[in-house]
Symmetry: C2
Subunit: 263 residues, 2 copies
DNA sequence: CGTCCCCTTGAATGAAGTCAATACGCGTGG
DNA sequence: CCACGCGTATTGACTTCATTCAAGGGGACG
C-alpha cells in the first residue's frame, strides 16, 4: 500500500566526512580527478566558523559569496513581523546554502547556525571558476540545487497535510537519508544535534507538542532519541508511518550517465 | 509595525496578455529585440491545450520538454499513498513549470490543470537554443526559476505558521501581485478561476474551513469574491492581516542592470 | 549552590476537521 | 418546459488535534 521505498538503505557510508560536498556531487555525476581537485580547491579558499544560533546571512543582505556547510547543522528560516519563526530548510554538511543569491540580490530570508558550524565561502569568482571550467561540475551544482528545491516542495507537503506524528517521522527519515549521503550515519544511528524547539520551528508545531510527538514515536518503538543521537531501528517502519517516499531526494544515481571519463 | 510594503502597487498592466512570459522575463533583464524574438519563436513552436483537471505531467514521468503556461491556471501537487493531496504551487500565465526536469529525470510530483490551459512545450533543443544563444535570456530564466523557489519557501512559511485567515489572505496577495506582473489585473480585480476545494488543497485547509475563512475575509471587507473574480479593495489592508511581505517575489527590478543594450 | 536551558507533564482552551444536511446554479435530456 | 443530476457553495453540531499556560525536574556550567 505504500509506494516503493526501494532505496531506503542508507547510502554509501563510504564517504569521508571531510569532503561532504564532493561526496554529494559525486553521487550525481562521475567527477574526473581534475573536477574533484578544483572543487576541493575552491571550497577551501575561505573557511569560516559560526557559533550556534549565529546568523550566517540575514534577510535583506546582499551576500557576495555562496556558503557551503562543511560541518555542523544550519537552517534557512523566515520571521514574521510579530516574531513568529518558521524554519523552511535544514542544511547538513555538504549542502550548498544558496546558489541563487547570485541572481536574486537581496536575501528574502536568513540562514542561521543550529550548531557550531564551519562553512566554506565561495566567492563569485570561485563560483565562475567552478561553473565555467568544468561542465560536469556545473551540472552537479545544478542538480544539487534542483534537489534542494524538491526537498523544499516536500516540506510544503509535510506542513500541509501530515499530522504531528507523521510530520516528525518524515523529517527524521529525510534527515537520516540525507546524512547517509555524506557518510554521517553509522549503522542505524545518526546525530540529531538540535533541540526540540528547533524541531518545532521546522515542523510548525509547538515545542510542547514536539515533545509529546517524540514520546509517541518512542512508544511505538520507531525511534530512539537520546543524547543528541537518533537511532531508527526499522527505517521501513518509520517511513511507513510517515508516508515517506524517498523519490523526491533523487537518490537514484540519475546523473550517472554524465560521466566525466567517458569522452 | 508591518514590514515595508513599498512595492504593493500592482505592476505594469502594460503587458500584453498574449506574451506573459516575455512580460515576466523582461521585468528582470532588459531584453534585446533579438532576445525577445527568439523567446517568442521557441515558445510558439509547439502549443498544447489541456482541459481542467487534466494532468500535464505526472509523477514518475520523464518529460522531454519544459512547459510554459500561456493561458489558464495550473498547479504542482503531490499525492500521498492514502490519497491525500497537497498543492505546493500555483502556475499562472507566463510561469515556467519546471526548469529542472532537464536534470532531475523523473518527476517527483505532478502538474495538473486547474482551468483549461494552453501551454507551450519547449523541447530540449529549444531550451538549449534559449540558454546558449543569448546570455540575457539564460539569466532571465535562472531568475524566473529562483523566484519560483523563493515562492515555494514562502508557501512553507504560510503552511507552517499562519492561521487560516492569514493564510488565505496571503495567498490572495501573492496571486494578485503575480497576476499583475503579466498584465492580468484590472483595477483592484483579477480572476480567481479556482474552486474552494482547490484553495483548500493549496492552503492545507479543509474545503469547509476555506469557505468559512472566505466569509470571514468578506466580513472584514478585505475581499470581494464572486463569479470567479477577486476584488481587493485595499491591498495594504489585506497584506497587513496576512503579514504579507512582498520581498520574496523579488519585484524590485533587481536585474535591470543586466541590460542587453548596454554593450 | 544557584542559574539557565532543555525536557517533561497536566489541565484548559481553541482552531480546524469531520460529518451531514441543505441550497444554488447549470446543463441535459425527457 | 420541467425534472433530474452534478458540481460547488453554505450552514450547523460535534469531535479531535494541537496550542497555551503553568509548573516542575534534571543536567551543565559558572
Amino acid at each position: 500500500m505504500q509506494a516503493k521505498v526501494a532505496s531506503l538503505q542508507p547510502h554509501g557510508d563510504s564517504g569521508a566526512a571531510e569532503t561532504p560536498l564532493l561526496d554529494k556531487l559525486g553521487r550525481f555525476v562521475v567527477l574526473a580527478a581534475a573536477d574533484r581537485e578544483i572543487i576541493a580547491r575552491v571550497a577551501s579558499e575561505r573557511v569560516r566558523g559560526f557559533a550556534a544560533h549565529e546568523d550566517v546571512v540575514r534577510e535583506g543582505d546582499r551576500p557576495q559569496h555562496i556558503s557551503v556547510i562543511l560541518s555542523g547543522w544550519a537552517c534557512r528560516y523566515k520571521v514574521l513581523a510579530d516574531g513568529r519563526r518558521q524554519v523552511v530548510a535544514f542544511f547538513l554538511p555538504g549542502d550548498v546554502c544558496d546558489l541563487n543569491v547570485l541572481v536574486l540580490r537581496h536575501m528574502d530570508h536568513s540562514i542561521g547556525a543550529l550548531t557550531p558550524i564551519l562553512v566554506s565561502e565561495i566567492s563569485r569568482a570561485g563560483f565562475d571558476t567552478l561553473m565555467g571550467a568544468h561542465l560536469r561540475v556545473a551540472q552537479a551544482l545544478w542538480w544539487e540545487q534542483s534537489v534542494a528545491n524538491a526537498i523544499q516542495r516536500e516540506w510544503a507537503v509535510n506542513l500541509g497535510l501530515r499530522d504531528a506524528t507523521e510530520r516528525m517521522a518524515h523529517l527524521f527519515c529525510e534527515l537520516f537519508l540525507r546524512l547517509s549521503l555524506v557518510g554521517l550515519v553509522s549503522g542505524h544511528s545518526c546525530e540529531m544535534p538540535v533541540t526540540q524547539a528547533d524541531l518545532a520551528e521546522a515542523t510548525g508545531l509547538s515545542p510542547v507538542h514536539v515533545n509529546r510527538t517524540l514520546q509517541e514515536l518512542r512508544r511505538l518503538g520507531l525511534i530512539v532519541l537520546k543524547d543528541k543521537t537518533l537511532t531508527i531501528p526499522d527505517l521501513e517502519a518509520l517511513a511507513d508511518t510517515a508516508q515517506f517516499n524517498p523519490n523526491y531526494l533523487h537518490l537514484g544515481q540519475e546523473g550517472r550517465h554524465l560521466d566525466a571519463n567517458d569522452r
